[in-house]
Symmetry: C2
Subunit: 211 residues, 2 copies
Amino acid sequence: MQIGIIVYEDNNNLRESLCNLITFSKDLLLLGNFSRTELVEQQVTELKPDVILMDIDMPGMNGIEAVKKVRHFDQQVQIIMLTVFEDNQHVLDAICAGASGYLLKKYISDHLVEAIQQVMQGEAPMSPGIARMVIQCMQKNARPAINPYNLTPKEKQVLTHLSKGNSYKLIAANFNISIDTVRSHIKSIYLKLKVHNQVEAVSKASQEKLL
Amino acid sequence: MQIGIIVYEDNNNLRESLCNLITFSKDLLLLGNFSRTELVEQQVTELKPDVILMDIDMPGMNGIEAVKKVRHFDQQVQIIMLTVFEDNQHVLDAICAGASGYLLKKYISDHLVEAIQQVMQGEAPMSPGIARMVIQCMQKNARPAINPYNLTPKEKQVLTHLSKGNSYKLIAANFNISIDTVRSHIKSIYLKLKVHNQVEAVSKASQEKLL
DNA sequence: TTCGTCCTCACATCATCATGTGATAAATTT
DNA sequence: AAATTTATCACATGATGATGTGAGGACGAA
């Protein structure tokens, strides 16, 4: 069973090279090639490719937008981004948009077929340099963000309970303290976070991963 | 300049193999090797390694906890995780904890030196299989999570304003509608999200990235 | 056309929250 | 020893929120 492929690349020479590489491989079947992504939804729907090769930087709607569009109605098709630059925020954006891997253009002739087979096996072709960027991005999102507001332990506990929607009364009961003490802690939290009500406090804490 | 390395691995045979590989490479310098991670902070502080090789699964404090401890006081040292399994949540946890790459144990003899050089160059050694897991994890965090609660456009707008800490009064003014209409929308939001106050609603929306 | 959903508004009542002003005691830091 | 921080509690008042009940117009789908 051959792997069906469509190609989006605005550079005519490169697109021809890609098409040739695909055509010359007996495992791959070229279903279509396009210089623009305007009709990507219709084309993907009709041609039902297994893999899409997508240039990141294209005029008009760029490759990342096209990926998002495709992912709106198809979670199965594998998408490999093609790019000239390695150290590029675009690559991260493309991954978040739903790309399954990417390939530097300078490696295309040597690794295109291999990359396509990798994504079909559920793996993600990716250079070590990009891998590091991806890892750093994950670590940034994972960090607990250590307390830039100097919340005391008690205040943090109270804030956690608040975020669950508990009333002052419930929190007081939970900690075996009086409601006024809870009030007091919450007043202090507002001061430190520079907010003026529960919702703002919880929202801020949630966004900055303080809980 | 040689690359200073310390090793954490509880399997004595494997640890010896690792040490031999390092010792035999002229670019690498073995600073220490340990079967337990209890003293990891002290050891890293004293030996000042460039790279730490860390087994993920170890008795007592496991490798992931050790990574977290090290990252508390050292963001520079490169950490490579060693693991037998590829499809393992542990690998993701390790990355979030602060590891810079990982190496499957079956590839150690062939790729250890290469992996060490990669992390020192700011790259991340990682198999395509793990790369895919990492990508999927990122995509999960990035997706807007399309409205499993059937919030109407107006309700979503109101919810967004709520999350900024705006009062009913302010929201009403913003939309040029009456306070009672705002109430009405919010009641509806509570029903759909199955919550009973603003804080729960905003907290839930924030966690599930509905905003 | 009828049904359902969405957006709109009104009134009422009780609960809860925000804010201010104090105060005491223990623990920690200086 | 003195100062600061943390955790605790009290009282008071006005504002805001939660909940119930009810209803009318607009719009699209069945």
